[in-house]
Structure formats: structure tokens, C-alpha cells
């Protein structure tokens, strides 16, 4: 028996980064806001305790802070000729759960996309001609520009206290920063992180090869910082327990360390945790959301009416909710019709291991942080001439090794036996003198007609709703790109003085058991008209104007950078449009 609750001005689905930003902005605008979060409440003092946060088995190997597939999962196949099967345990991506979402366990690598990333199809067509792009590549312009987003990138970075070195201040290139980045209006809020030996040696080698290395922009703070909301963060201690873990130092940017302490004290805000939204409800025109239905931890069902619905779940769950709620038209790859589920993308990552002489090199891999690292951007986006190369796209590369945790980081040279005395000897001889950056090359994943999401015909979640089905494989473009970039990366590792370099370029088929970042994007993309997108430039649904869909769901394709900086910027940009225009005059913000 569904219990109907008192009305709220806005209901926010999910209390991760975008849920927290939107809740903060809308409560500041005076709205009564309720956020409904599937997972538990979490905060630093109780859940990321300094006495036992450093537990690789529990948090990295056994995924304790993450969503459990038993709670909800997806199915996967490489192509439509296969039967999709459930992802029964996580592999290729790791999904957050609870207050703070992925902001709790991320590395906090906080990048901006390039200006040309936002006008990708126009730009590449202009430079190389339309025939240069594969005919089944469905990349698009975003409908929003870097210049429009710049103040909102700035807002997210100053919320987070991001540590970095500006490379382009209002058009003037700055030494020591990324010379390729789009212009920024002011420096980062805190100075860049310090670098370890391996990271610094990479930068030296990169300079010798003519590149311009710079420190990775980090949400691990180089010094204490108080953000514009008045929330204070601590200094990162280079503990080496960053990604997969909660931070005990208050030094990793997360909703917990930047927004939630202020948000929960507002009288017009309420969070309901361990409650899962099962459906966005529509009126009988199908063009207006009336609120959401959710189930609490005891299995009781509630209806929460609201005037405004903000969908702030992770990308996969946003698409699932749109599909099960009947919002928009589902994508059919054979006809190309329908917007919900198309242009699904991931990330193309690869690396090269470097084995060094243990008597000359000691890298102390355990002295590290989530976003530490020296990077080069010469091979990202369209920063280099693709004409002779026969592919498009690119990525940053760097010595970005985040840890020396033993189970994960005991690489041995090829040919070493997998067990026994020789295996032990190889661990002993190589642990301190190996460069092993999991995402040393972090590159784009463009969109294709046959890579998409829809609903599985067989497998269901615990509420009886169909699971999201992933149909995804690598295309030649990304594999060619990966081979090229990995070769360039390996040259730098070699130049550092490695005695052996082992290249590991990305190879197909796409394997759902191999971790390759959790940067899943697309499925309800933004654009300039309803014929090519699900959302307008403000992330407002073309189909249901009182619904806004946050997150990387909006990315028409994925660029060669970690997505969270852009997700945060879009959240601030969308919130600004809601506050300054939508609330005064609810309705479509764009008439196409």
C-alpha cells in the first residue's frame, strides 16, 4: 500500500556530487528539498576511521564501500549477436553507494575538458573533413561551450579546494602548467601537490623528450583550505589509500568534506537514506513529472510528490530510471531512432610497466596520493595532427601511480612464475623499483551506433525491474589510438632509465572483468534539439521540462580526461539556469 507523503518543492534522486550541489543551490534559493539516497549515510569520523581505513583487503579487494551487485547490477554483451549476462561481481567499473556517492572513494583527479571537446564533431570535420570520421561514429557537439562552463568549472574547483598549477590564465600561458588547457579566469585555489621520486623522474624524462609536464590537478589538498561554504579541509598526507577508500584526513574533496555539513543544517533540507527510488511518476500527459516512488529499507513504498525532479544518480541508474519510467523514447540501434540509451561510452586506458635496477632506484610507491602525478597533454584531444595517423581522439598520460598496496601493486617481470620461490624473489626484487601507473594513459572513448544501453529482456533487480543491458565493444579507432599513445608513454618510461618496459595497450574485445575506470557516460545526452539529444544545454529533459538529469549521462561522448570536473561544472551551470530562469517561469528553457 503506497503511502503518499507531503509535497516538497524539489526531490533529488541520489546524494552524490551532483545531488549535493543541486540540493545546496536549491535550498539556497528557498526551496523545500528532499534528497533520496539508496545507500547509507556516511561521514568521515564514523566510516573512514584513521585507525582502520588502511585496509586493502576490505576496501580495495572486497569493495566494502561500494554498491553490491546483489542490490542492483547490469547485464553485458559485446554485440547484439550475444546474449547479455549479469555482471555478478564488479570488474570493469566500480559503482558507489551511499551519501557522497563516488565522491567518497574517487581519486579526486579534477580535470577540465578542452574547448574543442565541446564542439567535437564541428571541429574534427572542419580540420580533417567529414570522411575522416568512421561512418558509424556518432559523436556530437554538446550544445554548450567551454567559455559558458568556465565560471562553473571555477565554482567546482573552489568548492573542492583543488590543488593545481594553472597553465592558461585568461589566454596567457603559464610556465609549469598545462599549456593546452582552456583559459581559466584565476589560479587554482591551492598550490599543486608535492611529487614523489617516480613522478618527478617521469617529468624529467618528458622534458628531455620535448614535452611540457605539469602536476595533475588534485582534489587531494596540498594545504588546509576553507571553501566558500565555510567548510574546512585538511592537508593530504600522501598515505597511498585513496581510490576505493574513504579519507580519514578530511583532505579529499567529497560531498562530506565540502557541502554536507552545511547542507544538513538547513531547515529546508532533508535526506532519506537507504531508500531507493523505483520510478519517476508522470501525469497523464506524460510531459510532467509529479514526483517519485521509492522503497525504504523495510520494504515500504512511498510516493513523494514534488514540483521539480532532479535525477542525480550514477549514469547507469539515471538511464534505467528514465527507461522504466517511460520518459523519452528508447534507442533502437537498427533504426537509429530514440534518444534514451544511445551514445554510451566508457574510457580507453592503458599503461606501460617500468622495471628498474633495484640497487639504483627506490620509488617508495606507498608514499602517494590519488591525484598525484606529473602528466603531459601533447596527445590529448586534437592537440596533435591526426591526419597521418588514421584515428581521432587522445588522452593525457603521466606517472600517476597512486599507491604501493601489496596485493594490487606487486607486478613482476614477464616470464616470472606465478608462484613459488622465484615469485617471492621477484616480489622482493621489484616492489620498490617498479613504475606501475594503472591509468598511465587515460584516453577518450568516442560514441558509436552499436554501443548503447537498453533494458535486459531476462534479468531483473530486486524490485522486479529489468536490469540495464550494456552492449559495448571497442572500435578500431580507439584501439589504434591506444596503441599509438601507449608507445609514446613507453618511450618516456624508457627514458626514465627503466631496464625493462612492458607495454600494455588496450586490446579488444571489451572485457567487463578488467577494471578500466568507472567513467561511464552517455545514455541521455545533451544537445541543441530534441532530434539529437535527450536533454537541452541546461540538462533539462526535452520530454519532461520539470525534470533535470545531472551527471555524465549528458556527455555525448567521453573525452581524454576524468569526467568529474565537467560533471561538477555542468551541475553548477544547470543549477544557475534553474535558479535564475526556471524557478521564475517553469517550463522549457530552450525552444528548439
Amino acid at each position: 500500500m503506497t503511502q503518499k507523503l507531503p509535497h516538497k518543492d524539489a526531490v533529488i534522486i541520489g546524494l552524490g556530487w551532483t545531488g549535493s550541489i543541486l540540493a545546496h543551490e536549491l535550498t539556497d534559493a528557498g526551496l523545500e528539498v528532499v534528497a533520496i539516497e539508496r545507500g547509507p549515510w556516511r561521514d568521515t569520523g564514523t566510516d573512514f576511521s584513521i585507525t582502520y581505513a588502511q585496509d586493502e583487503l576490505r576496501y580495495r579487494i572486497q569493495h566494502e564501500l561500494f554498491l553490491r551487485p546483489a542490490q542492483i547490477t547490469v547485464t553485458f554483451r559485446n554485440n547484439a549477436q550475444q546474449t547479455a549476462l549479469p555482471v555478478r561481481t564488479w570488474g570493469a567499473f566500480m559503482l558507489g553507494n551511499g551519501a557522497g556517492g563516488a565522491g567518497v572513494h574517487w581519486n579526486a583527479e579534477t580535470w577540465r575538458f578542452l574547448p574543442t571537446d565541446f564542439t567535437l564533431r564541428s571541429h574534427l570535420t572542419q580540420r580533417y573533413g567529414a570522411n575522416f570520421l568512421p561512418s558509424d561514429m556518432t559523436i556530437q557537439d554538446w550544445g554548450v561551450t567551454y567559455d559558458e562552463l568556465e565560471p562553473h568549472y571555477d565554482a567546482f574547483e573552489y568548492l573542492c579546494g583543488t590543488s593545481g598549477q594553472a597553465g592558461n590564465l585568461k589566454g596567457t600561458i603559464q610556465p609549469g602548467g598545462n599549456p593546452f588547457e582552456g583559459p581559466r579566469s584565476r589560479p587554482y585555489p591551492t598550490p599543486p601537490m608535492k611529487q614523489g621520486y617516480g613522478h618527478a623522474l617521469f617529468a624529467d624524462a618528458a622534458r628531455q623528450l620535448g614535452y611540457k609536464p605539469f602536476p595533475q590537478p588534485a582534489g587531494n589538498l596540498s594545504q588546509p583550505y576553507t571553501n566558500p561554504l565555510g567548510v574546512t579541509m585538511g592537508q593530504c598526507t600522501y598515505c597511498g589509500y585513496c581510490e576505493w577508500f574513504g579519507c580519514a584526513n578530511y583532505s579529499k574533496s567529497s560531498p562530506q568534506t565540502t557541502i554536507l555539513p552545511v547542507l544538513v543544517r538547513k531547515s529546508n533540507f532533508e535526506a532519506r537514506t537507504e531508500c531507493e527510488v523505483t520510478r519517476i511518476n508522470l501525469d497523464n500527459t506524460g510531459k510532467r513529472a509529479t514526483g517519485v516512488t521509492y522503497v525504504n529499507a523495510s520494504g515500504e513504498e512511498f510516493e513523494q510528490p514534488a514540483d521539480l525532479v532532479i535525477l542525480c544518480g550514477f549514469q547507469l541508474w539515471n538511464v534505467q530510471l528514465l527507461l522504466v519510467s517511460g520518459i523519452g523514447q528508447k534507442y533502437d540501434p537498427s533504426t537509429g531512432q530514440g534518444q534514451i540509451g544511445r551514445n554510451f561510452t566508457h574510457q580507453t586506458v592503458s599503461t606501460a610497466l617500468g622495471f628498474f635496477d633495484k640497487d639504483k632506484y627506490n620509488f617508495n610507491p606507498f608514499v602517494s596520493a590519488g591525484s598525484i602525478g606529473m602528466c603531459i597533454d601533447e596527445f590529448n584531444g586534437d592537440n596533435f595532427d591526426h591526419g597521418p595517423l588514421g584515428f581521432v581522439g587522445g588522452g593525457y598520460m603521466g606517472q600517476v601511480q597512486t599507491n604501493g598496496r601489496p596485493i594490487e601493486t606487486t607486478a613482476v617481470p614477464p616470464g616470472t612464475p606465478a608462484w613459488g620461490a622465484k615469485w617471492k624473489q621477484a616480489l622482493h626484487d621489484n616492489y620498490l623499483s617498479t613504475i606501475n601507473a594503472g591509468t598511465g594513459v587515460h584516453a577518450s572513448f568516442y560514441a558509436y551506433r552499436d554501443v548503447y544501453l537498453d533494458l535486459d529482456p531476462t534479468y531483473k533487480d530486486r524490485f522486479g525491474r529489468p536490469l540495464v543491458r550494456l552492449t559495448i565493444d571497442f572500435h578500431d579507432n580507439e584501439l589504434k589510438m591506444s596503441a599509438f599513445l601507449t608507445d609514446k608513454y613507453a618511450e618516456i618510461i624508457q627514458r626514465m632509465g627503466a631496464k625493462q618496459v612492458v607495454k600494455q595497450p588496450r586490446k579488444g574485445p571489451y572485457d567487463v572483468t578488467q577494471y578500466q575506470t568507472s567513467h561511464l557516460c552517455g545514455g541521455a545526452i545533451m544537445g541543441n534539439n530534441p532530434g539529437n539529444s535527450a536533454l537541452n544545454k541546461y540538462l533539462q529533459s526535452w520530454d519532461v521540462p520539470n525534470l533535470f538529469v545531472q551527471g555524465a549521462t549528458a556527455f555525448p561522448q567521453n573525452a581524454g580526461y576524468n569526467p568529474t570536473g565537467t560533471v561538477g561544472a555542468l551541475a553548477f551551470w544547470s543549477a544557475a539556469a534553474i535558479r535564475s530562469r526556471y524557478l521564475k517561469n517553469p517550463g522549457p528553457l530552450v525552444h528548439a
Partner: protein, 246 residues
Amino acid sequence: MRALLQFNRRRLLGSSAVMVLALSAGTARGAIVKSGLPWKPGAADPPTPVTGEGWHYFTPQEGALVEALVDRLIPPDQLSPGGKDCGCAIFIDRQLAGSQGRFEGLYMSGPFQKGTKQQGPQSPITPAQQYRKGLAAFDAKCREKFSAKSFTQLSDDEKDQAIKGLEDGTLKLDGADAQEFFKLILKDTQNGFLADPIYGGNKDMASWKMIGFPGTHYDYRDWIDRHNQRVTLPAVAIASHPNWAS
């Protein structure tokens, strides 16, 4: 009350029965967060240390077999004690007796069908069941192949030969996939060797001392600038520090 809270959270964290978690967690932290940060004193959730003698999952025969296996996968030498003295078999036993052994938290709805390698594991057989079947099949095969001796009675060379047979698939097991079983036990043995000692393996931080990993230190600000220098901090673990009385 604290112990009950701890047991329930640990046991049910991976379970789809999230509703039971909420009831047992009570109203102290609550599902509704309003007007302030939730706070309950003592609501931490440290790992439960593995203690005590004996086996919680393995039969005595299985335990002896696993001890013999881990002592070849990680043989004793000048670099470290062997897998047995490091506690790797105890580690595996306690893991199998707990939520990990039951595949708690995994999506275990059917239909189950074999897929491609890229689609990942699709078996309803839990790790605990895989060990029970695999160990029995392996022991039976060793008796058959090595003149009715069990694995525990073989010489070190013969043991290594049997293990290599599992690894490359030439030693075929009845009712179990040899190579899958080998991968499972190798992963669990190495995890036990390298994980925090609180879980029963890596006794006295033997593996960490072997490789030069100082353990659970959480503040390296004095070391980040000291490039190419050996870190001289003593190895510490979650429940172990040289300055603490043991």
C-alpha cells in the same frame, strides 16, 4: 550492543536483505537526516580480528591439505616463512567461513548460463563449495597418480609437479575445473600472504617486511620529498605496532 551492531553490519552489508540492516541499526543513526549530522558514539566498524585455533570451515583433512598447498605456493626460504607459518591456510579458512565464502553481495539470480570470458564468472557455486569439491577432487587425483599417497605425503618436488598440473590443466580433476580451482587458491593464498595480519595471514607482517612496505602508516609528509631514499619507518599493521604491548 556494540558487538551486535558490528556483527550485523559486517554480515549484512553485502546482503540484499538491506531491510534487516536498517532494523538492527535502529534509530540511532536513522534513515532520515535532518537538521544536523547524525552521530552515535562508538558506532565504528573495525575489522574483526581472526583469532583462535582450529578450523571454522575446513575439515581437519582439508585443513592439512590446504596447509600443504600454501606451503608450496609460498615456500619457506630466507626471504620469509612459508605460506603455512604465515597463516595463509587460516586466512582462507576464515574467509570461506564468512560472507566471502558465501558470495554474499554478488548477484546470484538466475538463469545461470556460461558466457564469454569477457562476461565474467557465471557460476552459482560459491567459493566455499568450490574449495570443498576442488580439494576432494585434487586429493583423489593425487592418490591415483602418486601410488595411493595423498598430496600431504608427497615430496616437495612431487607436490610442485601436482600443482603445475593444476596450473596448466594437465592434471584433470573429476567434477571440478583444475585451472579455475588453481587460480582461486593461488589468489586466496597470495591475498592472505599480503593482506593485513588481522585477517589471519601475513603473520608478523612477514610479506611486508620482505618487500619493504611499511604497512598502515597514514602520514608520509616527511617522506614525499626524500627522493630515492629508503623509508625507515617500522612496519605497522591495523592491530600491531612495535610500541604496543602484544
